[in-house]
């Protein structure tokens, strides 16, 4: 089976003055369709950079990134935009809804850029909203919704275009623990329905809710396996901060 996401010796190097910062220092990994993977690590570990590359928001300095069998490492901005639109669905920590548009218009946004006509956009958006149980709030503005509801709208938006991969970057970071639990449960439900989910987090307990965990530290993979907190949480690499159990 072809992996959906494949990193082959990916490096991301920034030049700050005379210093070189290796945000990603040689990572290779494969994620297959239908997996629920959590990429976990403290800040500065390279997990955000990983997400940026997986999400086609950034390109690696060297190495290759194969998305659904295609090498996207050297694509230009427009091509990357196309891929983001068709294959990826983003869920951000801060929901990132556009405040002047109502809920339905927010969910329609990726469909707008996909070139669907207005009727199609409305139908698919409303289907998506229904899936997250917020169809009745379609005409509300984001500011009129609670944090948990806004995050659900964000999920609906991510699902609207039927992407191959759902990328969630600290999706529960801005929510209280109960709402956060609801969101994670929803992600698990999506996973059961067959979606591929990549979750980025710094919190081990959240990472443990996934199926598989990839732990990164100083730009490298230090663990890649079962989401058993006892197994991955105690891995310490040189220079790591304290570990939660």
């Amino acid at each position: 089976m072809t992996p959906l996401i494949e990193f082959r010796q990916i490096y991301k190097i920034y030049k700050m003055g005379e210093n070189e910062v290796h945000a990603i220092d040689g990572i290779s990994m494969k994620i297959f369709p239908g997996e629920f993977v959590a990429i976990v690590g403290p800040s500065g570990s390279g997990k955000s950079t990983c997400m940026n590359i997986i999400g086609c928001l950034d390109v690696p300095t060297s190495g290759s990134y194969f998305l659904d069998g295609k090498d996207v490492s050297h694509m230009n901005d427009n091509e990357l935009a196309e891929i983001r639109n068709k294959k990826l669905g983003f869920i951000f920590q801060q929901y990132n809804l556009i405040p002047k548009l109502n809920v339905q218009q927010n969910v329609e946004l990726p469909l707008l850029y996909a070139g669907l006509n207005e009727k199609e956009q409305a139908t698919r958006a409303r289907e998506s909203l229904n899936r997250v149980g917020l169809l009745d709030k379609a005409k509300n503005l984001p500011s009129q919704l609670s944090g948990g509801q806004q995050q659900r709208v964000s999920i609906a938006r991510a699902l609207a275009g039927n992407p191959s991969i759902i990328l969630a970057d600290e999706p529960t970071g801005a929510l209280d623990s109960k709402t956060g639990k609801d969101v994670l449960n929803f992600l698990k439900k999506l996973h059961k329905e067959g979606n591929t989910i990549v979750l980025i987090t710094h919190d081990n307990t959240i990472a443990a809710q996934a199926e598989r965990v990839i732990r990164v530290s100083d730009g490298q993979v230090v663990y890649d396996g079962e989401a058993d907190i006892h197994k991955f949480a105690s891995i310490i690499h040189a220079g790591d901060t304290e570990v939660d159990i």
Binding site: G55, A81, N96, I98, K100, L101, Y113, A114
Partner: protein
């Protein structure tokens, strides 16, 4: 993305903060309304001017000759002969000779006015309306009789309610008989069109200093024949008098053309000046668009992460800018038209903007939005989505 959708989105954005949008549009509104007001008022003034010129007689040609220094002269017979030779160009001819500042007296009441000496054709040439009696006749002119036709001002001032027809009137000491009274044309005050006395030119010539006719009034068949008529006249006069300094031919049409040319130039100049405020308005839009792009950096990042390409972002912001300026243009046109009518009424003009001016102003205002929105839009399109998402 369809143009209509972009336009509706832009409109929604504008309505979100109405005050700010209004202030942004202000420069365009002022500029466009200034242009509309100026153009309308100029149109009104030009119209008023052409009307008054037409009243003076656009087909009237005035010829004056100076006989000093030359041994060659031209007399009335030769002028009449010219008219007879060119019936397709010249309709009427009237030698003229005026008694300026003449004292006109009835009994003990006297006024000072000009007695105009004309021929019998004059009434037709100038389309004069007779209220009672008749105009001067050929025999009276031939025999240089002392008769006159007066306007309503003379009637009221000197005769009061007594009908002047058939009465005697003294002009510079000589007694004339009133054979006709003209219909009221103006307001019957001193110096108005009703302040006229027409006497046979032959009579006037006898009483004048030189004793010869030195000027003629002719009417061309129509406005198109004026130029060829003038040319033929000039050619004939040059032949007869030998030197162009000995005569002058003038008419209102050329004067009016000169005046309208001048007004057109002035209009262009004024519109350009008003256009400066449009330029300033455009800069205002660019300024606000730059601010808007910075404010919405995050939003742009979100859109890009969802798959918006550079050109999607560009068209979004350019259309927003064009919508703002276009709306400003419409408001400016309406405001300008209203104010033009108000000012027009104050100045007693009928000031209306031409359809062309309205369309031009609207297109220019939209164009300004596109032009001045381009740079901010380009900035927006170039934003890196990762940095943009991290932005405040």
């Amino acid at each position: 993305m369809s143009l209509k959708k972009s336009f509706t989105l832009a409109l929604a954005n504008i309505m979100y903060d109405k005050m700010r949008s209004l202030l942004t549009m202000l420069g365009i509104i002022i500029g466009v309304s200034a242009v509309i007001i100026l153009i309308s008022l100029m149109n009104g003034m030009t119209g008023m001017m052409t009307d008054s010129f037409e009243e003076l007689g656009l087909t009237t040609i005035t010829v004056s000759t100076t006989n000093r220094g030359g041994s060659r002269t031209i007399n009335e017979d030769e002028m009449y002969a010219f008219r007879d030779e060119h019936p397709e160009l010249i309709e009427g001819i009237s030698p003229s000779c005026n008694l300026n500042m003449a004292t006109v007296k009835v009994g003990t009441t006297s006024i000072t006015t000009t007695a105009t000496g004309v021929s019998e054709e004059y009434a037709d040439m100038k389309a004069l309306e007779i209220e009672s009696g008749r105009f001067l006749e050929f025999q009276e002119i031939n025999a240089h009789r002392k008769v006159c036709v007066i306007g309503t001002y003379i009637q009221r001032e000197l005769f009061g309610f007594t009908p002047a027809l058939g009465q005697n009137i003294k002009i510079n000491g000589n007694v004339y008989q009133v054979v006709g009274i003209l219909a009221e044309k103006d307001d019957s005050t001193s110096g108005s069109a009703d302040d006229v006395i027409y006497i046979p030119y032959t009579t006037a010539v006898r009483l004048s200093r030189t004793g010869t006719v030195s000027s003629y009034t002719l009417t061309a068949v129509n406005q198109d024949k004026v130029t060829p008529a003038i040319e033929a006249l000039k050619a004939m006069l040059l032949e007869k008098l030998g030197d162009e300094n000995y005569f002058r031919v003038s008419n209102m049409l050329s004067v009016m053309d000169m005046a309208t040319d001048m007004m057109d130039t002035m209009e262009i100049l004024l519109v350009c000046i008003a256009g400066i405020s449009l330029l300033v308005g455009g800069i205002g839009i660019m300024n606000i668009m730059l601010v808007s792009v910075t404010e919405r950096t995050r939003e742009i990042g979100i859109r890009k992460s969802l798959g918006a390409k550079g050109r999607d972002i560009m068209s979004q912001f350019v259309i927003e800018a064009a919508t703002v300026s276009g709306m400003g243009g419409i408001v400016g046109i309406v405001l300008g038209a209203v104010l033009a009518i108000v000012f027009g009424n104050m100045l007693n003009l009928s000031a209306t903007p031409s359809v062309g001016a309205v369309l031009l102003s609207f297109s220019v205002s939209v164009g300004i939005g596109i032009l001045f929105g381009y740079l901010p839009a380009k900035n927006a399109a170039k934003l890196n989505p990762i940095d943009a998402l991290r932005h405040d």
